[in-house]
Amino acid sequence: MKGILKSVSQAKHGLMFIAPAVLILFVFSIVPIIIAFFISFTDLNLKGLADWSNISFIGFENYVELFSDELFHKSIYNTIFYVLIGVPLVIFFSLGIALLLNYGTSKLFTVFRAVYYMPSITNIIAVAVVWGYLYNTEYGLFNYLLSLLSADKIPWLTDPTIAKLSLIILAVWKGIGINMIIFLAALQGIPQSYYEAAKIDGANRFQTLFYVTIPLLRYATFFVTVTTLIGWMQFFEEPFVMTDGGPLDGTISIALFIYKNGFQFSEFGYAAAGSFILFIFIIVTTLVQFKVRKSDTEY
């Protein structure tokens, strides 16, 4: 009896806490997604937007067309390339830097927390201009440094494969900041007593790191992994400002493909269909992560 009462009150209060945010999300995110889902089965373009009687239902035509669109295939390949290389790098670097920054509390470390956060607040136009310099094949700083080592010039942004890697480096540089402060906050959450206990047990630094710190960071790591994956699967800004998808479509991502079709060519139906394919990819990836994670026990 008491148990039932308790679960009723749990449900009531739980819903009370989540209701405001979830309601707003429902109206301004879920409903629009459902609308976009319907749009993906139509030929909506600018003409249809102006007068809804110009919209016609075309079934799976957009999806069928996507499957034979070579540019879309290319964008899928590129996106997988970005995710497979970029995501591990972001997680590795942001965790590594957070651990180093957590090492001390002196003024120096405080200042560097801000320094490592800077890339994520640098204006994107400044980013594009400066990295454009760094990557310029003839005059760029990187190739200048390489020439000092009498190494060959690298076509940073003009070879399709190297350009992808260059954009990954840029995105990792820009993406470290946010994840780093999340890890830092999580590190602060580890009670000092755990470290003391480890010390008493005679654990050395690496043992402490691998058997105490990292396992205790698993909630933060899980969060960072899930959100970074979602973010990188929608990789957009870097190719948008640096290469616009070139050279030879070597850097076009799914999100950029969607943007081009939707907002440059006004093919909204086609763009919506593309984004639902991306949506499915992301959902599957995320669900897999949650399933794998299930095996973990609660605190």
Binding site: A21, L100, A186
Partner: protein, 276 residues
């Protein structure tokens, strides 16, 4: 034993050195942005790039303030920031609800919340606009702030961190007769300070830079934000880089202040005294 103490002795300077080298590398574009804002236009795109302006000038900043309707833009930006912090509270509550309460369909609901992060924002832009139009909220501040109040990323982050708060603590407070909101405001928020600090920084940056939505919703320049005002300086063919860098640098200053303000909470950490 002695070698170990030697290792420990060099460890600290080593870490510091590593951080300094990495830090310099990482902050070059940022420094370039700041220094360019003091350069003359003819110097900005010079090759090789110069880190320091040869004739430092304030002209870009003077220009900036003259061409911006500064007071109005700042007011709008601050209103958006204010409401985004209200949104932050809503997200924290939702995160807490998902982390510490059990009810039917919770997991499904949570997945749905997460799903809202998974679709490119451009795809839902027009539907959201049409919804707001139906509600008569276009060209209003409400229309600008409302859709951005709830953020799945933020809810997820709060949920992840609040899960790590021991249940016993909450149960003990309940046994003492504390109400649910009392527990949330007096117990949970103080414990979760570091994550509030992280979210505070992220929320501030997001709201401070808010751009596309104010532009789309506003049919009147009196609703423009600083970012929108700055982007008006971009030409169709020509870009005045020095002026844009001044604008960008100016936008960054408050972020740096907010960051140093909040980060002390990240550093202070949990005050877990009295807990197991």
């Amino acid at each position: 034993m002695q070698s170990k103490s030697f290792l420990q002795k060099i460890e600290r300077p080593f870490v510091a050195l590593f951080l300094i080298v990495g830090g310099v590398l990482v902050s070059v574009p940022f420094l370039w942005m700041i220094s360019s804002s003091f350069k003359e236009e003819s110097e900005v795109l010079n090759i090789p790039p110069q880190l320091f302006p040869s004739n430092p000038t304030f002209e870009n900043y003077i220009n900036l303030f003259q061409s911006l309707n500064f007071g109005v833009y700042l007011k709008n930006t601050l209103i958006i920031v204010l409401f985004s912090f209200l949104g932050l509270l809503l997200n924290a509550m939702a995160g807490y609800g998902f982390a510490k309460f059990n009810f039917k369909g919770k997991q499904k609901l949570f997945y749905i919340v997460l799903a809202t992060m998974m679709i490119p924002a451009q795809v839902t832009m027009i539907p959201v606009y049409l919804l707001l139009n139906e509600m008569g909220l276009t060209n209003t501040m409400t229309g600008i702030v409302l859709p951005g109040l709830a953020v799945a990323f933020s809810i997820f982050l709060f949920r992840q961190f609040m899960t790590t708060i021991p249940n016993d603590l909450i149960e003990a407070a309940r046994l003492d007769g504390a109400g649910e909101f009392y527990i949330f405001f007096k117990l949970i928020i103080p414990i979760a300070k570091p994550i509030f600090a992280v979210q505070g920084i992220l929320t501030f940056i997001g709201a401070w830079n808010s751009f596309l939505w104010p532009l789309i919703i506003a049919n009147d320049e009196s609703l423009y934000t600083l970012s929108v005002g700055l982007s008006l300086l971009q030409g169709q063919y020509a870009n005045n880089y020095a002026l844009q860098m001044a604008g960008a640098a100016f936008m960054v200053i408050p972020i740096v202040i907010i960051f140093s303000f909040f980060q002390k909470y990240i550093v202070e950490g949990f005050t877990m005294s009295g807990l197991k």
